[in-house]
Symmetry: C2
Subunit: 122 residues, 2 copies
């Protein structure tokens, strides 16, 4: 048997890190899962998820660079912009599911065992 720690894991570690770098922030998955429902305009997103325009703008740019959302300028008056999730963005579903399932499992594990402490989230 071999030493997994830094041989076989090298590529795996990087891949895991990649994913976390891309969708691991506070807003990325919130935005994406919101867009799964249906496309939104900039301000709709801002309102619905409660995020300031500066942050939202940055997050959407990041997502667009990684081809997870598309940005479409609509020729209206005034101009509106629609953001949609891409097919590639939708491949994150397995990730989201895994995160959600484990989160639920963890709540049971932690809350079932010790009640007063707050090891979870906030």
């Amino acid at each position: 048997m071999k030493n997994l720690t830094s041989s076989e894991c090298t590529g795996a570690h990087r891949a895991v890190r990649d994913t976390l770098d891309i969708v691991g922030g506070k807003w990325k998955l919130v935005i994406l899962t919101t867009l799964i429902d249906k496309e939104r305009r900039f301000k709709e997103l801002a309102r619905e998820i409660g995020i300031s325009p500066r942050i939202l703008s940055k997050e959407l740019q990041d997502l667009e660079i990684n081809k997870l959302v598309t940005r479409t300028v609509c020729d209206t008056r005034p101009i509106t912009v629609e953001y949609s999730i891409t097919e590639h963005g939708q491949t994150l579903e397995k990730v989201t599911t895994a995160l959600r399932d484990w989160g639920l499992t963890h709540r049971k594990e932690i809350i079932g065992t010790q009640e007063s402490l707050t090891p979870v989230t906030g």
Copy 2:
């Protein structure tokens, strides 16, 4: 019909956020995947993954609070402390796998399409 954005998604969003809060930092999954191989002492971990003692200490405390690792003081001279991954910690494997798989997929998607930009990680 109902407004999915903040009704049906509430629990799911929270669960996803929980997981990211718990293992989403720079080191948590690195530490855990290292410990899957075999248990380590404090300084071994510090050396192997290249992390400063202050950060490592904090990360291990977080992990212990969430029952992902156990801390065992060994009655040696001088004292040594061993950290091991728990069974609960090992249930993160599905999460890690999902993150890794998507990271690999994403590299193909991005690198296959556009070569010069660096939308991935660093």
